[in-house]
Symmetry: C2
Subunit: 552 residues, 2 copies
Amino acid sequence: MTLEHSHPDVAHEMAAHQRDISVSEFFLKNRHLLGFDSPSKASLTTVKEAVDNALDACEEAGLLPEIRVEVSNAGDGVLSVSVEDNGPGIVEEQLGRIFGKLLYGSKFHKLSQSRGQQGMGIAAAGMYAQLTTGKPLHVLSRVQGESTATELFVSINTAKNRPDIQGKKRVAWDHSHGTRVEAQIEGHYPRGRHSISTYLKQTAIANLHVTIHFRGPHGEQWDHECSCTDLPPRPVNVKPHPRGVELGQLIQMLNNTESRTLLRFLEKDFSRVGRKTARRIIRQADQNLTERSYPKRIAHRQSQALYRAIQTVPISGPRTDCIAPIGEQRLAEGLHIEFDASFYTVTTRPPAVYRGNPYQIEVGLAYGQAAGTHLELDEHGHIHKATRQRLNTTPELEHRADEPAYLLRFANRVPLLFDQEGCAITKAVMQTNWRSYGLEQAKGALPHAPLVILAHMASVWVPYTSEAKEAIAPYPEIVKEIRLGLQSCGRRLAAHLHHETRVSDEFDRRTHLEKYLPHIGVALQTILALSDDERERMIASLDNILHEKRRL
Amino acid sequence: MTLEHSHPDVAHEMAAHQRDISVSEFFLKNRHLLGFDSPSKASLTTVKEAVDNALDACEEAGLLPEIRVEVSNAGDGVLSVSVEDNGPGIVEEQLGRIFGKLLYGSKFHKLSQSRGQQGMGIAAAGMYAQLTTGKPLHVLSRVQGESTATELFVSINTAKNRPDIQGKKRVAWDHSHGTRVEAQIEGHYPRGRHSISTYLKQTAIANLHVTIHFRGPHGEQWDHECSCTDLPPRPVNVKPHPRGVELGQLIQMLNNTESRTLLRFLEKDFSRVGRKTARRIIRQADQNLTERSYPKRIAHRQSQALYRAIQTVPISGPRTDCIAPIGEQRLAEGLHIEFDASFYTVTTRPPAVYRGNPYQIEVGLAYGQAAGTHLELDEHGHIHKATRQRLNTTPELEHRADEPAYLLRFANRVPLLFDQEGCAITKAVMQTNWRSYGLEQAKGALPHAPLVILAHMASVWVPYTSEAKEAIAPYPEIVKEIRLGLQSCGRRLAAHLHHETRVSDEFDRRTHLEKYLPHIGVALQTILALSDDERERMIASLDNILHEKRRL
């Protein structure tokens, strides 16, 4: 090997540059990973993270959520975004870390369905605010039962990933409980498919129990009252299912358990393992393991045997009370509220498991040429419940027949607006053969039809394609479950569509033929030795025949 | 608002569950974000991370890289993956953290081009090994000039994101310097487009100076000698360009600087700011700022003014010696080595800037029906330099005319094999109008042609779409630069293709006509009142005319 410009102390020189990277620095530099790539996306992401937290908090506390979202221009390209909820409030000691520290929260270590799961979103919004306008988050929170609220300004010390709190004080607030967060960000108010309004309206489709008040920067405003007053069932926090635990994780659990015997460990640290199953696992594993083996002293070889035994001994499937799907009835209601279609169908699949994580897929279709959407607002812009409220007041949700199907993607009741291409839902839709249900579809594309396709994944852990939680990672087992849901809805749609499709096929063939009429004319002229005049007459007559046939 | 099941201490109960999430735990649960979603992808990612580090280390030390990659079956679905380099070695105190801690490294805080940038990859591979087989990484490293190597086994304490080192000792090693890392992972040996072999061969295309020895688990092996012996120019580490710094970052820099005057701060902490420019910025900012203002005492309002002044005062563009493109000559050589085409063209675009980060785009095309690839291996499977070595020994790189163009994507000389759809390069290719250069292309798709498209982004900071570094985030300015490169190559291709395209268009029209001949027959029968026999004769004669014309 050649050595060039190399000197012996280069390894030490390089070592001198090695250092820790704080998680905040990392995401500051990679802020597109958290959904803050552009000013317009950043404003939507800010709203989304705050709304997710608000809804989670309300539901966890058993409170029917009512949220207020306000976006206003603060001049100089700066948007002020605020989200207020009627949740239980956040205790003072936690406020700093929740809003001013990445990777901090209550949902990551839990095994139950929630919108948030990473402990990053809202603090990331604060970091973005700080980066672009230098302004800290303004937080106000009043805990249920306390007489005043806490107000504070918080930013992140990115080098240390620590909250930096300013101006904390107790203040009066005319809400008995709740939280309000306000961010000053460099932002463009997004419009169309990726607008804040669209996001909130889609939220309402999957969350019929949520009341939303929205005020935009250009005077736009709407209020949406919940259409049902019972909360979704509260998902239970469960222990991991033994089959979902990988070898390394098992070893770690053995090391960290508080149980003093293997039997107790298996019974206590996992769900679905009773005494009988625990004993069978230990017997099957063999390797001198006994019920009384001390977990922390189990050797690598023994852990491997235990791991293998878990894969073979019969164990009941994971518990599913840790997830709360929307349910067929509410799903259908959501679609009805939003889309004025001629045909609806929904299905909630039975619970399934990927890598030990229970999840459940729901699918809905709304089909129909009745694409026009009804505005049922009164003169103040309010949608009234009395008149069967429709949310769909913006053109972006209108649907036309000559476009691909409109996808509504949800994960744990949260609408997914970005990265459609990368999403398991999109892949499942593309892999489904919609032609067999009577729709047009190019190979590997979305079907072309006046069709809305809604799909929802409810899970204790949604595998997102990025920290921005914009799309569901296309794990094969998840894509397959979605496909099964689509197929079951598709078959029902097929019956409805049978006649219309035949007509449309015929139409297509004719269109193609017409395109080639001039060429046919030239060819015939050669064969039949026609004059130019005769050729033109013949083309005209062919054209007539084709048109006549179509009228039938 | 209704209160249901709510109790006043719910906020405190929720607070009790709030806790820190270690970055290792986070990525353990989200390992697909780091490229460890499936056993086959995991094995490629492991190789990739180790090779990236090896090449970076060699180049930084001025050593011509020679790497050995070995993959073998360790039974029970376990692969043993090892990567060895002839780099400068890693000093003993750093070994644990480099291989056993996420977010630790020397490249994140630097502004110069390197393959690694996150300080996560190889430690993540170790974490995956630990999770799936329970085995720590086995590391061996000898620092240039030392008489022995250090051997150790290292895993990550994921709850604390700290290395857990076992069995460290000094051992003899028959290499004067270098590093070897071995992981035992649950893995499937990937084949085809995403194989380790493909990855290494693509690495050789963009790194003509690298020698690679590969041994696969089923006896497959090849050795590729570097085709040039000079290292790429070593990128210089630069200071940030003032225009690339956002307001929040500027405020932070003011707070953290060691400079005691504003003038000195501007001159010292930024690139491209001399005394004259610094003075102009301060004068333009006004707000009572002077050359001698103390940076740490500058108010928010003043920082804003400073920020605005930076955007308006003329400042030279960023330095570009921090990036090292491959260069047109080597790019062309790489394409020649790999593809047996009838036409080649390459272009290196001038340096550009996104968000203050200098970058440079390179594009190459290889076109030709000469799709067959030459195997120039001797009986031992070695490729010889003497016979103009070709790497393309696997069917996955063969190219056929009826398929979409084959994309070769590179970022900082590293091949990108996954997430093609999400990549800025793919988007640029799809947005380019290849029809105007004489190729077939469906709207918004890759062109269909016997074409290889290579694109490379060299930058001090590549904005990847995920931590797995599989695709370049489609920032509009980057997509545009790639498109300009593609267009310049495309125009040269167009000249070459002019004649062939006309022929191919004609062919297509005919094919369509033939499909409709039977329908034409029926229509003509009606118009001209032909007998069935006459109709068939006429179709036959039409068919003949079409075929005759094609032969011309």
